[in-house]
């Protein structure tokens, strides 16, 4: 077993000290001279014609520097489908539609100006149910949007998600048991503790600097460059500088209206403009996880082997289209590849409604799909008379497998995860009591080796070393609290024979940092980690060459340990790193010791049939839970929670556990308490009193089990673990509730009301 100095160690997050002392600068804390404050006026109606906007009174308010509406800005289109604009003209399509924006010298003045803007609307018929929106004659959210073979106006997006492998109909005929159910999941939202915001600033040549909290600096740079072109500023430069990010979870994976509005206001006023969301705005004007209606059927043989999985899904897209509309591509992953299932069919439709538009959120479709799949695994197991534990073990994925979606499974610790959970829960003892206490489990597959969503899945790294042996790592990766900064430092330190604290990771500035496609798909440790490792190997080679000259030793006989280059043949021949660097710099005809590396994993884009090896490797996990349900109140209490994950290799067990704990808490919220209540397109609970995310009193203790399968392609064997922590939580809890009471709840969240209603239904005389 190789002895590591930095890898596998519980090293604190590198920016923890800055954060714990209150010195870390978030977007809210940023101030630049002459800065104005931007505020946005939203539509109060879900669907309405804009008849007139009168800004004259607001313009006369002292301190107001600019007012923009959809009628006095250039045409900037954004979003995955380019169906959104920063400020709306003609009509509004949802209650969060931006209709006007103000820049003023003071936030209170900007707020007051919003009150003085008068907008006349003519209310239009609206549609909030995606099934209704699909019907003939439903109100059209985008009048000009056409689809289908006939190219007729429709609310159904031209994104025909369709994955077919094997022969589902034949497999269904051959199945001994078939379960068929409808599941529903609703909106939940990220609840980043730091609200959204940005600060846009132009220089005298009209180059833009935007202080941002984006998860996709390089792609945001491209979006903003396009916006500048639309503003007549072709060829101007965009610099994205990230402040500390107060939580991401997918909420910063697109570019958003407020960012374009800040850019437009800054350009108009020639002043820096900052926009920061209130908590209420954060709830109603950022995009939640997609709601879905999921019709699913699965079958198995008499001895409990899965024969097919057939899923139809309708997703509420809302009024505009973010990258979140591509979540069905990720849903395909568990549908095709969670447990061995030879025949698969998946058809999904994203439908425009006058609701808030949805987007990426941790798990990216996987929690929705896995809730349906793994809840139904229990239903099917019961039909077949097989313990759900045995049913899962019988169908568990294995290394070397090629799944129906053509995923190549390299390492797979799913069986180990299932076994570990069963053991921790005393499964055989505790299952099947039906006395108000019950156990349940559910599993997950997620991309763990990047995900080729874009043409590239790459990340760049530059490493340089200074005269004193400090290693500067410039990475394309984004840290939003998950610990990318620390993990990258550990990887580089291990390779270079230094300590993590010798490494400074710089990840905040597109003028300085290399390119990357963003912090998504749990890809950072794997992709940015491999990129950093590649750069470190190159730098090490250079170091050994330089040191070889001064030490009179050939580089292949040299290595680095404890910040010192030494000869493996003659340990007396050695030189501290700083000295090696100084020799390189101060020698006539000297050189720099620095290297760059671009790592783009050997994964594949999904082909026209949505097949292909999306990720180099896949992460697995199983969660198990013991619950106690109060039959009088319907309250579900979690008595025990076990989260087993195949992580490849834990680069930093402490940060890894943090990802699991945080994921589980978010997952329990998804399962039991969280719900963005939307009534006629309006969010009714835009505050923490009415939106129930878990508090310290609500979270159960979680037993994290780390299964290390040492993936051959991962940096030091690691796979991604950012998202998996919440994926199987809801079905594990739903299964435990069934085990406790014999009632099956198929829509989230599982509130006490739903539990009581199901109990009542169950006891009703037939």
């Amino acid at each position: 077993m190789e002895e590591f100095i930095n890898i596998g160690k519980r090293i604190p997050k590198t920016d923890a000290e800055e954060k714990v002392t209150g010195r870390a600068v978030y977007i809210h804390d940023l101030k630049v001279p002459g800065m104005l404050f931007g505020k946005i006026l939203y539509s109060p109606h879900a669907h309405a014609k804009i008849l007139n906007i009168d800004t004259s009174r607001a313009e006369r308010l002292l301190g107001v520097k600019a007012i923009l509406t959809g009628y006095n800005i250039p045409s900037i289109k954004f979003g995955f489908y380019k169906d959104n604009v920063p400020l709306k003209a003609g009509k509004v399509r949802s209650c969060r539609d931006e209709v006007a924006a103000v820049a003023a010298t003071d936030p209170d003045i900007a707020e007051e100006a919003l009150d003085l803007i008068r907008v006349d609307y003519e209310i239009l018929p609206s549609v909030f149910d995606p099934e209704e929106a699909m019907k003939e004659g439903a109100p059209l959210v985008h009048d000009e949007h056409v689809g289908g073979k006939e190219k007729r106006p429709t609310n159904v997006l031209n994104l025909p998600w369709r994955l077919i492998a094997g022969d589902v109909d034949e497999a269904r005929r051959q199945s001994a048991y078939v379960a068929e159910d409808r599941f529903r999941v609703t909106w939940v939202t990220h609840c980043c503790m730091g609200t959204s915001g940005c600060l846009a600033q132009f220089d005298l040549k009209n180059n833009l600097t935007i202080y941002s909290i984006t998860q996709i600096p390089s792609l945001a740079q491209r979006d903003f460059t396009e916006a500048l072109s639309a503003m007549g500023l072709q060829g101007k430069k965009v610099r994205v500088i990230k402040t500390m990010i107060g939580g991401g979870f997918g909420s910063k994976l697109d570019t958003y209206a407020f960012e374009y509005i800040a850019i437009l206001l800054a350009h108009k006023t020639h002043k820096p403009v900052k926009i920061v969301f209130s908590r209420e705005e954060e709830f109603f004007a950022t995009s939640p996880r997609q709601p879905a209606i999921i019709d699913i059927a699965q079958g198995c043989t008499r001895d409990g082997r899965l024969t097919f999985r057939d899923v139809r899904m309708i997703l509420d897209n809302g009024a505009y289209t973010s990258w979140g509309a591509t979540t069905p591509s990720v849903m395909m992953m568990p549908i095709s590849s969670l447990y061995k299932v030879p025949n698969v069919r998946y058809v999904a439709k994203c439908v425009y409604t006058n609701n808030t538009y949805s987007q990426a959120m941790r798990g990216y479709g996987n929690p929705q799909a896995t809730f349906a799949i793994d809840s139904q695994i229990d239903i099917l197991a019961e039909m077949a008379g097989i313990d759900p534990l045995d049913f899962r073990l019988r169908n568990a994925n294995t290394p070397g497998e090629i799944t129906p979606q053509n995923f190549k499974i390299i390492t797979c610790g799913l069986r180990e995860c299932i076994d570990a959970v069963a053991q921790k829960l005393d499964w055989r003892q505790n299952r099947g009591r039906r006395d108000g206490r019950g156990v349940g489990m559910a599993s997950l597959i997620h991309v763990g080796g990047g995900a080729r969503v874009y043409k590239s899945d790459g990340c760049g790294t530059i490493i340089k070393i200074d005269d004193f042996g400090t290693v500067n790592v410039f990475t394309g990766a984004t840290d939003m609290g998950q610990g990318a900064d620390t993990v990258i430092a550990q990887i580089v330190a291990e390779e270079l024979g230094v300590r993590t604290e010798d490494v400074v990771v710089i990840h905040t500035d597109t003028d300085v940092c290399p390119w990357d496609v963003g912090a998504h798909a749990s890809r950072t440790t794997f992709v940015a980690g491999n990129s950093a490792l590649g750069a470190a190997k190159k730098v090490k080679q250079l170091l050994l060459e330089v040191a070889g000259q001064t030490l009179g030793e050939s580089p292949e006989n040299l290595d680095i340990r404890d910040r010192t280059v030494f000869s493996k043949r003659d340990p007396e021949k050695k030189s501290p790193l700083g000295k090696v660097l100084r020799a390189a710099h101060y020698t006539t005809g000297g050189r720099m010791v620095m290297a760059e590396y671009f790592y783009d994993p050997a994964n594949e884009n999904l082909d026209r049939e949505f097949k292909g090896n999306l990720s180099v490797t896949y992460s697995y996990g199983t969660h198990g839970v013991e619950v106690e349900v109060d039959k009088e109140t319907g309250q579900v209490k979690i008595l025990k929670y076990v989260a087993a994950h195949d992580v490849g290799k834990a680069i930093n067990p402490m940060l890894l556990e943090g990802q699991v704990y945080g994921g589980v808490a978010m997952g329990i919220g998804y399962a039991l308490t969280e719900r963005l209540i939307s009534q006629n397109g309006k969010v009714m609970n835009p505050n923490f009193l009415d939106y129930k995310m878990l508090t310290a009193k609500d979270v159960p203790n979680v037993d994290p089990i780390v299964i290390e399968t040492n993936d051959p392609f991962g940096p030091f064997g690691a796979k991604g673990i950012g998202e998996p922590g919440l994926v199987p939580t809801a079905p594990a809890i739903a299964n435990a509730i069934y085990d406790a009471l014999g009632v099956r709840i198929k829509d989230l969240p599982i509130t006490p009301e739903k539990v009581l209603a199901a109990l009542k239904q169950k006891t009703k005389p037939q």
Partner: protein
């Protein structure tokens, strides 16, 4: 009309001329440039703005600054000692992975300090109760609870 208030902030006397409706949070962040205190909701629901008023945790976002006249206010900036050493609770947060995005951290640390000052050996339940008003989305709270336990030498 502006009013004058005097109070002790992180051990130093402070006088401020303020509008009567100004909240303590905005006095600290906007006027005194102590941005370690965070605004998470502005409605007293998330605890990110927690500071200590005469040793007790308060949500500074809903507390009129007038209320601190003649009192003692401690913010996160006041937890480091004169030699620049971190408070043991801060050290424990760092060492136990209790910090991810860090936005809730200053408020969380101050709630923990108020607890340990009053109850040096709290039970896990008491710790959870003490930070129940401080929301965190990243950590699932468990490492925060561990950190507070460790800071109380348990």
């Amino acid at each position: 009309m502006k009013k004058s208030i005097s109070f002790v902030l992180n051990g130093e006397p402070v006088r401020a001329e303020i509008e009567p409706h100004l909240t303590l949070l905005h006095l600290l962040r906007d006027e005194l440039e102590l941005t370690g205190t965070k605004e998470g909701c502005g409605m007293g629901e998330c605890g990110a703005c927690t500071v200590l008023l005469d040793g007790r945790p308060v949500n500074s976002c809903i507390l009129p600054a007038m209320e601190v006249d003649g009192k003692n206010v401690t913010t996160i900036e006041g937890l480091i000692d004169a030699q620049g050493n971190l408070h043991p609770i801060q050290k424990a947060f760092i060492e136990h992975g209790a910090i991810q995005c860090g936005f809730c951290t200053p408020g969380m640390v101050l709630s923990a300090k108020a607890l340990l000052d009053e109850n040096p050996k709290p039970t896990e339940e008491e710790i959870r109760n003490a930070i129940a008003g401080n929301l965190c989305r990243c950590t699932g709270y468990l490492q925060i609870v561990q950190a507070i336990k460790a800071a109380s030498n348990q």
